[in-house]
C-alpha cells in the first residue's frame, strides 16, 4: 500500500493490551463487559476502536487508565513501555496517568469542573506532574489553548467552562490531555456530543495535539466516518470481544467478519446515490449477562452455520499478517459486498396487504382532489 502512513511501521510498542477481561458482578449475575481484548499500540499511530453501545470499547480503555470502579474484576495484562499497569498501586499509577497516558472523555460538559476557571484546570494538570513555578505553568496553559485553536487564549484562560461553547470546552479538554506531552492519548467518543462543523474543528485540534506531542492515539467511536479519516488501524468490537483488526484500508475495503461488513452496509453515505438501499443487521446485540456458547454474532449473522452455535471463533490472521478476523467463514467473505451477504429488508416488516390497500385508496383521493378534503378516516365513528 503506497498511501499508508509509514510513521508507525517500525515504531516501538508503547501500549500492549493482552487478553484483557473485565467482569462486573451485579445482582443478576456477572456481566462480562470485556472478554479478551488484545491490541498493540505503536508510537505515532492512531488506533480506532469501533463498536456499538455496550460492545465494551469504553470499558476496555477505562481499564487501561485504571479508572474502573473497585467492584470490577480485571484480568489479563496491560503493559505500558514494558511496565505492567494492572495491579499497580494508585500512587504509582498516578505518575503514569495524565503524564504518559492521557484521556479525553466524551462529554465536555461534565469532564470540566464548573467551579474552577479553565486556566486553573490546565495549570493543575501541568503542576501535577511538573515541579515548575506557577507563572511558568500559566504560560504553558496559554500556549496549549493556542495550539488547540482557541482565539484570545490569554483572555479565555480566566473564564469559567460555562463561558465556553461545547466545541471550545472539548478543545480545553484536549489541551489538558496534551499538557504533559503524553505518549498515549485515549480519546473516548471525543466528538459524539458535538455538531458536525464543530466536530471538524475538534478533529483538527486532535490531529494537531497528536502531531505536536508525537503521541499514539486510541480513538474510540461508533462513527465509522470519523475513524476512516483519522485512524491508521481499526479494531472492531462486538459483545465485549475484538472481532476484527487490521489497517483502515483492510477493514473498509476487505472486511472479513460479517459484522464489520454489515456495519458498513447499514451506513447511509453522503457520497452514495439515494436509490441505494441500506442493508441493516437484523436483531439486536446479545445481553452480556448470559452469553450463549459459540459466536456472539451468530443470531444476527446471515452466514451462520451449526458450527457457529457451538464454537466461538478465535481472532485469526487472514491473508495479510496484520489483518485478523474472528469468523469461522471469514475466507468466504473475500471480495464480498454488504448487499451480497445481507438482505435489504426493513426487519421482518411484512406489509399486510389489507392495510396498504386501504391507505393507498385514501391517498389517491387526496392527490386527485385536495380541495374536497375527503374524510375517509372517520370510518368507524358513529
Amino acid at each position: 500500500m503506497t498511501d499508508r502512513n509509514p510513521r508507525f511501521d517500525s515504531g516501538e510498542e508503547l501500549l500492549a493490551v493482552r487478553d484483557l477481561t473485565v467482569t462486573f458482578p451485579t445482582a443478576d449475575g456477572d456481566v462480562q463487559a470485556v472478554r479478551g481484548v488484545d491490541y498493540v499500540l505503536r508510537r505515532g499511530e492512531v488506533l480506532g476502536i469501533v463498536g456499538e453501545s455496550g460492545s465494551g470499547k469504553s470499558v476496555s480503555s477505562l481499564a487501561v487508565m485504571g479508572l474502573l470502579p473497585k467492584s470490577a474484576r480485571i484480568q489479563g495484562s496491560i503493559t505500558f513501555q514494558g511496565e505492567e499497569l494492572l495491579g499497580l498501586s494508585e500512587r504509582k499509577l498516578m505518575s503514569v496517568r495524565g503524564k504518559k497516558i492521557a484521556m479525553i472523555f466524551q462529554d465536555p460538559m461534565t469532564s470540566l469542573n464548573p467551579v474552577y476557571k479553565v486556566g486553573f484546570q490546565l495549570e493543575e494538570a501541568i503542576l501535577a506532574h511538573n515541579d515548575i513555578p506557577k507563572e511558568q505553568a500559566r504560560k504553558r496553559a496559554v500556549e496549549l489553548l493556542e495550539i488547540v485553536g482557541i482565539p484570545f487564549p490569554a483572555k479565555r484562560i480566566d473564564q469559567f467552562p460555562h463561558e465556553f461553547s461545547g466545541g471550545m470546552r472539548q478543545r480545553v479538554v484536549i489541551a489538558i490531555a496534551m499538557a504533559n506531552n503524553p505518549d498515549v492519548i485515549i480519546a473516548d467518543e471525543p466528538t459524539t456530543a458535538l455538531d458536525v462543523t464543530v466536530q471538524a474543528q475538534v478533529l483538527e485540534s486532535l490531529r494537531t495535539a497528536q502531531q505536536e506531542t508525537g503521541a499514539a492515539m486510541v480513538l474510540i467511536t461508533h462513527d465509522l466516518g470519523v475513524v476512516a479519516g483519522q485512524a491508521d488501524r481499526v479494531l472492531v468490537m462486538y459483545a465485549g470481544k475484538p472481532v476484527e483488526i487490521g489497517t483502515v484500508d483492510d477493514i473498509y475495503y476487505n472486511p472479513r467478519m460479517p459484522y464489520t461488513l454489515g456495519l458498513l452496509g447499514s451506513l447511509p453515505r453522503l457520497d452514495a446515490d439515494r436509490a441505494e438501499r441500506l442493508t441493516p443487521i437484523q436483531g439486536t446485540p446479545p445481553s452480556l449477562l448470559s452469553l450463549p456458547p459459540g459466536c456472539p454474532f451468530m443470531p444476527r449473522c446471515p452466514l451462520a452455520k451449526d458450527r457457529c452455535a457451538e464454537e466461538e471463533p478465535e481472532l485469526l490472521v487472514t491473508d495479510t499478517t496484520d489483518h485478523s478476523a474472528a469468523c469461522h467463514y471469514s475466507a468466504l467473505l473475500a471480495g464480498k459486498q454488504a448487499d451480497e451477504v445481507f438482505s435489504h429488508t426493513a426487519e421482518d416488516a411484512a406489509m399486510p396487504e389489507s392495510y396498504g390497500a386501504e391507505i393507498a385508496g385514501v391517498t389517491g383521493e387526496v392527490s386527485a382532489a385536495a380541495v374536497e378534503v375527503p374524510k375517509p378516516n372517520t370510518k368507524g365513528v358513529s
Binding site: V198, G229, L267, D348, G364, V366
Partner: protein
C-alpha cells in the same frame, strides 16, 4: 412571491409560509418583564408534496425542531401560516386541530422518553385510536396489524416499553403515529438515538411505509448522510432561517451557500481513501446566540466566502439580508446568499 418554494406539479399537502417562532426572555426580577426574545425560527417557508420527503437539516439550535413543533401547533407559532391541505393550522379551533392531527402525526427523537413506561405496547398504540373514538370492536385487530406493519411481533403487545430495544421502541412510536392513518408524518430526529446497525432497519422501514402508504414526511435531522438517503428535497437551516433548499441531488452536488458547503464537507465519509483526498472547509467559531442574531446575513460572522470579498461587498453582508431565491441553478434550487450567482 420569490421567497416561497414552489415546485411545479401537484398541490402541496403542507405549505409553510413565513413561519416565525419567538420565545420571550423574561427578566429575573419579581415583575417578570419581557426583555428580549430568542428568535428560534425567523420566517421559514417550504412546501411538501404528497408522498414526498422534505429533509430539514441544521445544527443544534438552528430551529429545526421548533419548526416541526410549530407545524403541528404543539408550540403555537408567533406568526406565519401553516397550510395543511389549504387550511391554516395556526388559526384552527381546538376541535379542528384535533381533527387535523388525525392526518398529521409526529415521531419523536428519544424512543425512551416518548413512550409511557406504565402502559403496555398495545395500549400505547391504541391510545390515538381511543382518543379519536376509533377504537371499536376491531381495535385489538387494528393494533396487531399496526405492529406487524412496523416489523414487531403482535404477540408482544402485552409487554411494556422497557422490554424492547431502542430500535423496537422507535418502531412502536412509528406504529402509534400510523394508527390514525395520517397523510403527513413529522419525524423529529427519528434515528439519531439508535446504533447504526439498528438505524438502517428503521430507515428502510420508513421508506417502505412511504412507498406502501403514500405518506409525506417532514424529516428533521442533523445527520446529512441520513437525509441524503431518505429525502427528495432538502432544506438547510441556519440560525432560524433556511439558507438553501433544493432537490436532494442538486443540493448535495451543486450546493451554493457557503454554509451548506461547509456542512457537507464536514461530514466524514466512511471511506478511508476518499477521506484522505478530501479538502475540508473548516468554519471558524460557533453559532451566534439566537437571542441576538447578526444583522444582514446570519452566517456572515463565520462565512469563509465573506473573507475573500472586497470591503464594500463584505459590508453588504451585514447591511442587507440575502433573499432565498433562485440564483441561476433553476429546478427549484433556492439559495440565500448575495454572492453565489451561478
Amino acid at each position: 412571491m420569490t421567497t416561497t418554494d414552489t415546485t411545479a406539479g401537484a398541490e402541496p399537502i403542507l405549505s409553510v409560509r413565513n413561519l416565525v417562532k419567538e420565545f420571550p426572555i423574561k427578566s429575573a426580577s419579581v415583575v417578570r418583564r419581557t426583555i428580549g426574545a430568542v428568535h428560534a425560527v425567523s420566517g421559514v417557508s417550504f412546501d411538501i408534496q404528497p408522498g414526498q420527503t422534505l429533509g430539514l437539516v441544521g445544527e443544534s439550535g438552528c430551529g429545526k425542531t421548533t419548526t416541526s413543533r410549530a407545524i403541528l401547533h404543539l408550540q403555537p407559532a408567533t406568526s406565519g401560516e401553516v397550510l395543511f391541505q389549504g387550511r391554516d393550522v395556526t388559526k384552527m379551533s381546538k376541535g379542528e386541530l384535533r381533527r387535523m392531527r388525525r392526518d398529521m402525526q409526529i415521531v419523536f427523537q428519544d424512543p425512551y422518553a416518548s413512550l409511557n413506561p406504565r402502559i403496555t405496547v398495545s395500549e400505547i398504540i391504541a391510545e390515538p385510536l381511543r382518543i379519536h373514538g376509533l377504537y371499536g370492536n376491531d381495535g385489538p385487530g387494528q393494533v396487531a396489524e399496526l405492529m406487524r406493519l412496523v416489523g414487531l411481533n403482535p404477540e408482544h403487545g402485552n409487554r411494556f416499553p422497557h422490554e424492547f430495544s431502542g430500535g423496537q421502541r422507535q418502531r412502536i412510536g412509528i406504529a402509534r403515529a400510523l394508527a390514525l392513518k395520517p397523510k403527513v408524518l413529522v419525524l423529529d430526529e427519528p434515528v439519531s438515538a439508535l446504533d447504526v446497525s439498528i438505524q438502517a432497519g428503521v430507515i428502510n422501514l420508513l421508506e417502505d411505509l412511504q412507498d406502501e402508504l403514500g405518506l409525506a414526511y417532514l424529516f428533521v435531522a442533523h445527520d446529512l448522510s441520513v437525509v441524503r438517503h431518505i429525502a427528495d428535497r432538502v432544506a438547510v437551516m441556519y440560525l432560524g432561517k433556511i439558507v438553501e433548499i433544493a432537490d436532494g441531488n442538486s443540493l448535495f452536488e451543486r450546493s451554493q451557500h457557503p454554509y451548506t458547503q461547509a456542512l457537507i464537507s464536514a461530514i466524514p465519509i466512511p471511506d478511508p481513501r476518499r477521506e484522505r483526498e478530501r479538502e475540508r472547509i473548516i468554519v471558524q467559531g460557533d453559532v451566534p446566540s439566537p437571542a441576538d442574531p447578526p444583522s444582514g446575513c446570519r452566517f456572515r460572522t463565520r462565512c469563509p466566502l465573506r473573507m475573500t470579498l472586497s470591503e464594500t461587498d463584505a459590508a453588504r453582508c451585514s447591511a442587507e439580508e440575502p433573499e432565498l431565491r433562485d440564483r441561476g441553478l433553476g429546478a427549484g434550487h433556492l439559495t440565500a446568499c448575495h454572492f453565489v450567482e451561478a
